[in-house]
Subunit: 206 residues, 2 copies
């Protein structure tokens, strides 16, 4: 799909599209529906993801920041699952979109009863390459997610309505439903350079 | 100066300040004057610059992208001079600010006569740590710059009113004034992650 001179173009176009979207829209339902369309286009190909954002860790799932909006209106993350890796039960406290890029994810949603107890919300689901799901306080925010492939890396691209690595959110004790604050951070001190368009521009010089 | 948990904070604050500025202002004179104030604050300390954006090349001056606005309204670059390195005579075709972070730069401005010939505009200047100068089509856009220190690396932080690495601009033949198109690109495929505030947030968890 990608221009050989400009492999990262699909990610750059996505970031530009999302930046225009959050500049024009503030209603969450619109951000989710229009963001989903943009994400659907992004995950149609996967050769745009830089190598360093695809590397699994032997023990922990990795969260490579791909882009954060400077005004904190959205962020984009490459979520890399090693074989058998699984999150705790957790929430996000903001809207989020999950688009499957490579492999498969297994997910189970939960609801918290007024008593504080967690109960499953629907049955376990499988997210396949090219598919998208949404989470958030108004549409169901608590879930547990794992790599659905036991012997391979899976990668999903996540978009959130804030700088997700800095959001105070919660993990939940599966037995008691007791929440515990956490903040995820990011797995790398560097992000991809989306903006070097010089090869393309150079090819057009007279 | 910087918080030990969040070394990169001054650069993040600068990027947020510039993003707010370009969201509110379009007049170039204001962008230059307010951008200069923000840049002055940024270059008061230098411990925020990530190591990989300080590395000189034995032969060529390096241009490490620190941040590009997704809508192309500004970009920030770490310009790293090895000993003795020097640009060709060149222009920018947009406004730019140069803030001296480490070491010193020597600059000579030029004007192009209607005949096409280049003549010096003022005498050679020295830019010292903490000082700022501006370039641009309306305020003098043609110059040659070099490391003013013969045996050390110098580093200046540049801010431009576009994605500078992708701008079609010109070098000039010093004898004839003949312009030649070029595009500079960037020296790294990665940029710093300015957005991992998790250490700070984690320290505040209850
Ligand atoms: Fe999640
Ligand atoms: Fe210059
Ligand atoms: Mg100092």
């Amino acid at each position: 799909m990608s221009n050989q001179l400009d492999t990262i173009a699909p990610l750059r176009e996505f970031v530009i599209g999302m930046t225009n979207l959050v500049s024009q829209e503030t209603e969450q339902a619109h951000l989710i529906s229009k963001g989903s369309e943009l994400l659907k286009t992004l995950i149609q190909s996967d050769d745009w993801l830089p190598e360093f954002c695809t590397v699994p860790h032997p023990e922990f799932y990795q969260q490579y920041l791909l882009h954060a909006d400077p005004l904190g209106r959205f962020s984009v993350v490459s979520f890399v699952w090693g074989p058998g890796q699984k999150t705790p039960i957790h929430d996000h406290c903001i809207w989020g979109l999950i688009g499957m890029l490579r492999g498969m994810e297994k997910g189970q949603r939960y609801q918290q009863l007024p008593s504080g107890e967690l109960v499953t919300d629907g049955s376990e689901t499988i997210l396949r390459q090219g598919e998208i799901e949404a989470v958030g306080p108004t549409i169901g925010d608590i879930h547990v997610v794992s790599n659905a492939i036991s012997d391979k890396t899976s990668i999903s691209i996540h978009v959130y309505g804030a700088n997700i690595g800095a959001v105070k959110r919660h993990t939940y004790d599966p037995l008691t439903g007791q929440p515990k604050q956490f903040v995820s951070g990011y797995s790398s001190k560097q992000v991809p350079n989306l903006w070097d368009r010089s090869a393309e521009v150079r090819a057009s010089l007279t």
